[in-house]
């Protein structure tokens, strides 16, 4: 039991700012900003986009599971709401993808809010089951309404329109990467601020001991609802970005079903629950690995699953457990 408590409270909270750490952050940022334009290979840029995108999505997931103990097992369905919300808005009503980012966020936030109101009175596993069925219902609804969403035929999405003199035609991958850097920066900043705020403290308290938190007079359901809604809103933004980056959406299992949720969940767990930044590192590690071993086919997923099992059993803090050696 002491092990659990120790593993779920990362030592990062009292992180001090030392010159060494500042230097490390600067180097990492420089690599992040510098590598894709310097290497200038579409393949590398795509890998960086996938890694940063899924890493950020996994960090948002960490807000739910790592900071409040809520498993959203229909997460991919929530991403689908953001992706399809924005894509359909531009497809049917000609709304700019830039506004679509917000539309995707608001729609998914609304779904999260409603699902949250329904679910969050209940305990752990019920949340997982409820969100799972919500996610599946979303996905099946998309595939069953081909007149509106084009279903399994796939919905082609508009690229972002040019802005500030930047050309967002799809072949300008680097601009998509920089846009993602900005989005990820804003979202990660927001998450970091949130988990260190008073609200974040409440999240951690209710994850550690719900009853004790309640007896201190905190309305735990309310805080869970905040957590869930905010996470869904941010996930929706990422979903909308994904839609306009990827070019075509279809409600398959691998894109918006269980395998995608498992992929994100693995990134979060490998990064280390409740570590927030760990998810980004795990994103680059796992997606990089996945792209490098494209030829492995199904072995790739076997390795993903085994890694998840291994982390669950033997490395419960994930990559964040290595922090004391390198940070």
């Amino acid at each position: 039991m002491t092990a659990t408590t120790a593993s779920s409270v990362p030592a990062s909270q009292q992180s001090r700012v030392t010159p060494m750490r500042v230097a490390k952050v600067v180097v990492l940022l420089a690599l992040l900003i510098g590598i894709p334009p310097l290497v200038d290979s579409p393949f590398i840029t795509r890998v960086f986009i996938s890694a940063l995108m899924l890493g950020t999505i996994a960090a948002i997931y960490d807000l739910m599971i790592g900071y409040a103990g809520l498993i959203n097992f229909g997460y991919a369905g929530f991403l689908a709401v953001g992706a399809y919300g924005s894509a359909l808005a531009s497809f049917h009503y000609g709304i700019s993808p830039w506004a679509g980012l917000l539309i995707g966020g608001v729609l998914t936030g609304a779904v999260g809010f409603v699902a949250g109101i329904i679910t969050l009175r209940l305990k752990g596993l019920y949340v997982a089951l409820m969100t799972f069925f919500t996610g599946e219902a979303i996905r099946y609804t998309i595939s069953n309404t081909p007149d509106f969403t084009r279903g399994m035929q796939g919905l082609s999405t508009a690229p972002f329109t040019d802005i500030l003199g930047l050309d967002f035609a799809r072949e300008n991958l680097l601009n998509y990467y920089f846009l993602l850097l900005v989005l990820a920066g804003i979202i990660m900043g927001l998450l970091a601020w949130l988990v260190n705020s008073r609200i974040g403290l409440a999240f951690k308290a209710l994850r550690e001991d719900q009853l004790a938190t309640q007896s201190l007079g905190l309305n735990t359901t309310k805080y869970k609802l905040y957590n869930f809604t905010i996470a869904s809103f941010l996930a929706g933004i990422m979903g909308a970005y994904y839609a306009h980056y990827i070019g075509i959406l279809s409600p398959t299992r691998h894109e918006f079903g269980v395998p995608r949720t498992v992929e994100i969940l693995t990134i979060t767990y490998v990064g280390g629950r409740g570590s927030l930044w760990g998810a980004l590192f795990a994103g680059f590690l796992l997606i990089g690995f996945q792209e490098y071993f494209r030829g492995l086919g199904p072995w790739r997923l076997v390795l993903f699953g085994s890694l998840l099992i291994f982390v669950m059993l033997f490395a419960r803090r994930g990559l964040a457990g290595l922090k004391k050696y390198v940070w």
């Binding site: 305990k123 359901t221 699953g305």
Partner: protein
């Protein structure tokens, strides 16, 4: 569409038998899931992969070894019993010992990992071909306009027999009593000298055997392929929720109901909407009766 045709005995019997066959499969799956949940608190998301392994054992028993089908079904149940016990001993017990207080949520994630690994290993070993065996029993039962294949009757009968055996095992044997005691109060059971770790292993084995048996029994409808377990596991999770988490009889009733409802729903909606229907039903139940349809027990609310 003319709904009056639904009342013709021939069509009624057709749809009902189809619904009961589906329902039997859901019931076998759901009772295993519910047993594991009721006793260990673990929600086994890899249950569909145990079903999948059952279909492969059955296929190889029949098509490669040339065994008669009752032996194939038995073999699937036995093999999966040991696979289940092995999984519990190596993975789930390790987790239970290491994770402490909140291990159940972690166990759920662990079974997700197991699902991914088993599914893709099957993909690697067997490829994605569908390997089915049809016509376990030839012939149909005919009475007036009612026509039902003997195979459907066999499936429902075997499932019912297994249900009765399971009930008798839990009600009358010492192991069964120890299992029930553990589900009521693990600490008290341990004080009375019951080896909890052994009960957990056995329970997981039985649940896995039921899943394997379901897979073997339905080989002619669900051929063996790596992702065959996905629909059955979703539906049986739904039944477990509808019947009340951990309450086996409730899960069985819910399974039969869901099977029949799904069979009938084909008349009213395009087949793709069945999954939305199931998911919608579950969501409604979780909102209004989170303890399930037939369970008066209280749900732990947050």
């Amino acid at each position: 569409m003319d709904y009056s045709m639904l009342l013709e005995p021939g069509i009624l019997a057709q749809v009902l038998s189809q619904g009961l066959v589906r329902g039997s499969m859901y019931a076998l799956m759901a009772s295993g899931l519910s047993l594991i949940f009721g006793i260990m608190g673990v929600k086994n998301f890899a249950h569909g992969e145990l079903f999948m392994l059952g279909t492969y054992v059955m296929f190889f028993a029949l098509a490669v070894l040339g065994l008669p089908f009752p032996l194939g079904i038995l073999l699937a149940a036995v093999v999966l019993f040991f696979v289940g016990m092995g999984i519990e001993r190596t993975l789930i017990e390790t987790l239970r010992k290491r994770a402490g207080r909140d291990w159940l949520l972690d166990a759920f994630v662990l079974t997700i990992g197991m699902m991914v690994v088993l599914q893709n290993l099957a993909q690697i070993v067997f490829g994605s071909d569908r390997r089915g065996v049809t016509g376990l029993i030839e012939g149909t039962f005919v009475s007036g306009s009612i026509v039902i294949s003997y195979e459907r009757i066999m499936i429902v009968c075997v499932a019912a027999l297994v249900g009765v055996l399971l009930w008798a095992f839990l009600a009358f044997t010492n192991f069964g009593k120890a299992i029930r005691a553990t589900s009521q109060d693990p600490d008290a059971a341990q004080t009375l000298g019951i080896d909890i770790a052994r009960i957990y292993t056995l329970t997981f084995g039985i649940g896995a055997a039921l899943a394997g048996l379901a897979g073997a029994l339905l080989i002619s409808i669900y051929p063996a392929y790596p992702t065959v377990g996905f629909q059955p596991v979703i539906k049986s999770i739904a039944c477990v929720i509808l019947g009340g988490l951990g309450y086996v009889p409730g899960a069985i009733v819910a399974a039969l109901l869901l099977g029949v409802i799904e069979a009938y729903s084909v008349f009213f909606m395009a087949s793709g909407w069945q999954n939305v229907l199931t998911a919608g039903l579950v969501v409604l139940i979780l909102i209004f009766r989170p303890a399930g349809l037939f369970n008066s027990a209280k749900v732990e609310r947050a």
